[in-house]
Amino acid sequence: MDISPILNGFGVVMEPTNLLYCLIGVIIGMLIGVLPGLGPGATIAILLPITYGIGPVSAIIMLAGIFYGAQYGGTITSVLLRLPGEASSVVTVFDGFALARQGKAGTALGIAAIGSFVGGTVSIIGLTILAPVVAGFALDFGPPEYAALGVLGVLLISSVGNGNKLKAIIAACVGLLIATVGRDTFTGAERFTFDSLNLAEGIDFIPIAMGLFGLSEILYNLEERHNQVHAPAKVGNVWPSRQDLGQAKGAIGRGSVIGFVLGVLPGGGAVLSSLAAYAFEKRRAKQPERFGKGAVEGVAAPETANNAAATSSFIPLLTLGIPANATMALMFGALLIQGIQPGPQLVTEHPDVFWGVINSMYIGNILLLIMSIPMVGVFVKILRVRPAILAPITVLITLLGAYTVNNNVYDIFLVIAFGLLGYLMKKFGFEPGPLVLAFVLGSMIENSSRQALLIFGGDPTGFLTRPISGTVLALVVLVAVLPLIRKAVRRKTAAADGVPVEEKTP
């Protein structure tokens, strides 16, 4: 393997500007990780317009820093206040808060920080080794393969993710529909434009992301009344004892692997991997009853796994150009804004971006480890800010940001419209994630499949006869049919046991 581009990547990261953006990114990530309500997805969406003004490498380094920094920050509130700052830290609450009540809050935070560092670093090393290989393999991909991959991506995202599958598929379909708005790139025909000039250019990714992730999340959180106010928590010694470290060692190792693997899968990501790592530790523990009562492993495993997953979810994005989860869709958008098409060509065409971003994660993780241990108290202070003060400021930044992209008031209304749509979706149990992902993949699927049909001379069987696209399409069928088969089998065995079948709503 040629390591000179990797070393050049370190050169890129070490430039003072990039170091600064890395630092800014991880600090913002920590802060919003601490704040319950505002997640990394919303923050990245809100900050998308800022990335216009800075170079592509710095922009992505900063956004990536926000994403993995939030995984560190989410732990702090889980442990100290029993308030998970991020969805991926929900399971940390069980043992983290129990440890805090025993006066070992510092230990829990220290273990979580060390676990996060190890998980993140293991995952980056995996990324460094695996990403060029996958990208090299994907260089053979043509339009038919991309069309098939896009379909698989949309399907996986709507079926693997958490929550209601039917609603996820509906959201994905709406996303695909929105992707078709505008002037058709092949024929110039106008679709769903209703004679509006603004719509003729198609709907931009930024207002959709800012509305669905940013504004809707702010609106949704305003509704929540915090009827529990906590006393400020005291954090003692954060250095875990040798004995605690010994206990956590195995959990950290296993958490890294689980996180790395689940992070690569579409729809997996940090939340799922933290749950899986916790469940796995509990199952293999000699005394599972210790979990929930302050087991060090119960903090180490999920915290390691969510960081590992946050990092490894960059693999499908940087190598195939397929975002694995909603936050990666935002990264995808950010790269497109910079005029960079994420995909297998990225590593050869823009090695500075590819390796710069990957290597910045090494630096970012070290920064986070340095910050998270002694500066916990500083970050906890931000919890004193009331949402009544925070929300209007965030909304103002969002709308201003939306305006600055094209200096067009129409964009502000788009953001508001999508904000309301996202709010209603959340109220009725739809996740905005599949919609945005389907929107991003939608234009890719459409363009690639039409290009492919041009290549095939209009013969759709070409998709099936090419080996790679054929395999991917077989996977699509498998993913679509597997749950149905499993359901049928379960019904059969249940019927054989004479147990009445409980109809589970999808």
Partner: protein, 131 residues
């Protein structure tokens, strides 16, 4: 019949508790120490934890006064919270601490202490922090 003491973990708050406990011993009335955090933020720096409230109760016991700590949430109106407590517990006196504020501070921000003084339906005893 009870005495309500407004308490925050500040010198003024401590002075208020001292005065409230003295009054409680004098009148042989029950003392309710009110530590009311503001609703909204997940953390209020003025809310006291369980250890601190146990310490307050120990101080009351040492002074020979029957006491309890209450931590109701308030929105924008602290005086209303006190009024409700007065009605609920049959309060006869409110004890609060006052702090010196600069002219600019008085101009920009309202004073909750002043509003309690003006709006309370029972006598209010105000104390200052010992210098």
């Amino acid at each position: 019949m009870t005495i309500l003491v407004g308490y925050l973990p500040t010198p003024e708050g401590e002075a208020a508790v001292d005065a409230g406990l003295r009054e409680g011993a004098l009148r042989s009335e029950r003392v309710i120490i009110v530590n009311s955090p503001r609703r909204g933020a997940p953390v209020d720096e003025h809310k006291i934890d369980d250890d601190a409230s146990t310490a307050l109760l120990a101080r009351a016991r040492a002074a020979g006064v029957d006491a309890e700590v209450r931590q109701p949430l308030h929105d924008d109106d602290l005086p209303e919270t006190f009024e409700e407590l007065v009605k609920e517990t049959g309060g006869t006196l409110i004890v609060i601490g006052l702090r010196h504020r600069s002219l600019v501070g008085k101009f920009i921000l309202g004073s909750e202490a002043q509003r309690i003084l003006m709006e309370a339906s029972v006598p209010v005893l105000t104390v200052k922090a010992p210098r």
